[in-house]
Amino acid sequence: MEITGQLLLTVLMGAFLLGVAAFLARVEDWRSYTPLGAGGGAVGESGYGHSEKPAGLIRWFTTVDHKDIGLLYGAYATVAFVVGGLMVMLMRAELTTPETAVLGSATFYNSLLTSHGITMLFLFGTPIIAAFSNYLIPLVIGADDMAFPRINAIAFWLLPPGALLIWAGFFPLPDVIPAQTAWTMYTPLSAGVGNGNQMNVGVDLMLLGLHLTGVSATMGAINFIATIFTERAEEVTWANLDIFSWTILTQSGLILFAFPLLGSALVMLLLDRNFATTFFAVEGGGPILWQHLFWFFGHPEVYILVLPPMGIVSYVLPRFSGRKLFGFKFVVYSTLAIGVLSFGVWAHHMFATGIDPRLRASFMAVSLAIAIPSAVKTFNWITTMWNGKLRLTTPMLFCIGFVSNFIIGGVTGVFLASIPVDLVLHDTYYVVGHFHYIVMGAITFAGMAGIYYWFPLVTGRWYQRRLAKAHFWLWMIGTNVTFFAMVLLGYGGMPRRYATYLPQFATLHQIASLGAFLLLVGGIIWIYNVAVSWIEGPRVQSGDPWRLDETDLNTAEWDWFEAKRETSLAATDGGEDVTADGGQEIEDDTAE
């Protein structure tokens, strides 16, 4: 009985794969892409013969256009952001009471905690950055597309299966439970040792999913490095490369060194779990080995997440300050400095593990040194605004919010980098407050600044200004209420990662939940605004919707936008069908 069931499944699977292959063969004319041995263009077919995009869904499944892929990344990140956000809302609801009265079980809380962290960092953070970089970098550096458009598409399409694997534990699958390892996946818990339930296949699936997203990020990074090195327009010398591209280049370098290491560590962990190796067993490499490997990846990862948002802010903030970025080259060099130094600080996450105090001190030294380049950037942003003609548009508000929150997040970080302080605050809510000021208050804020700033560029339409400002203020207040309460909780000694707590922490926890509720409302407004405005927002009336020309702050992507509008207007005026002309196709985004 069981055998026939399996047989049936196998046959079905085979038939499905055949169907997929047939479908692909039909929609894609594989031969048109690589005229191997055709000996140049004599045959009349060029290498990347994309004359026209197919319509509808198939376009999105087959696209290799960097702008389409950027939008796919954006859509994906948005879905992940919603999922991760709803997860944390359940957690914050739970934390309104000292007992597990709301969710009913600490196990479920732990599952949400794990998934929230991993979803936000790997499925929202990295992809939302990739959305901006894919869409914009080729435009800004004057490249036709990414260096490897197909690898670009593959890198994206690895992400959805990654998400399904990471969330698999929450699906109604028999015998699969969600991982409860926290995002750091510390051994021995994550190795399934002991009497807990973490030997469950749900953890293996999550590790595999993470591995996929890591492969995706690495492919993307290689692509960006190649693109920025080789595809720049002639005028875009190293001296003329914009700050966003610099941060993406640095980020890609970090990914290239950090993610393969995570991949290897994940494989070792999977081997420990399933094939009885002893990499992280007490009798083998020891559980601390995992922490070293994880944080050697993990600390660069936080800068992988923060550098491009810093780039976005350095790019957008001057546009609404009426002047150019102050100390442009300081910002470039400090970006590179952060990139290098971030590989020398990993054990500041392990000060409390009992590693040799004499080595610990070296990590403290480098951790203090890395604060300098971050501070330099902050001063540059402030100086750019100083005496400038500020225009408090929504993207600008989010940029200012970024700077403000980044200062609090950075300062709390410097304190944590000091060993004696860290020994008191480690594993308390202070740490949670610290990094959320950065990941929510800074990274996500910069993402929103970018989304609002380039919304007209991508959609050709305006968002609703009032809703956007409401979104900003709800988030600015919500972020500070939530995460400052957490800083205070940490001072009080509230340990992190618990579903229950002592009654004396109740008030601050409830305040934090209130702030989170503001964040939820702001988020709903944001989604509504973007969705509705995309469909029926008023059309942008000029190629320079932010009126950057008035302050001589125009940049290449808006120049492209202006040219694109012109072509499409000319084409529509003539009453002709809008079709692709020589690689620069006229998007029908605006109509979607």
């Binding site: 005028e235 003329n240 590179l336 400095a337 400038g388 225009r391 509008r565 207007l569």
Partner: protein, 165 residues
Amino acid sequence: MAEIFDRDTLLDLTVNVIPLGIILFFVAAFVLIDPFGGLDFYGRVLQMGLLAFPLVALAILTYVSGKAIAGDEKRSKVFFQGQATIEGSPEKHEVEEAIEAEAAGETDVEDPYGGDADEDESEVDPDADDNDDNDDESDVDADDESDESDESDADEDGEVDADEK
């Protein structure tokens, strides 16, 4: 090499010299004071290696990137960020010279963005066509983001462009 690393470039690079200095400070402190003592040779190598590796890597990267950036500055035209591929944008030094001239009280300073940019606009500016196309919406965006500038225009000292390094 000497020409590439001139005074301006060295000044730009100070930003990375400071973290290098902090690391060097700790190297000296650990050598001179040796606050914990008792490290064997292997431990010493680790302790110093953890400082030396970032130190050396940062020094190399700063040198290489400084050479690439300052070298390109010398070899080819320099524009402000994001403007290199825009037709008609002025070079950085033109803008800076104009600002300096203006600051020095010269009156007939030409706006380096002026000439070309305006020409561009007149060819490009599609507002007229726009109104034919979708006149129902044509006045909407005027009161959208664009009127926000009014909120904060109090400061009128017009000090634009001056500060990019």
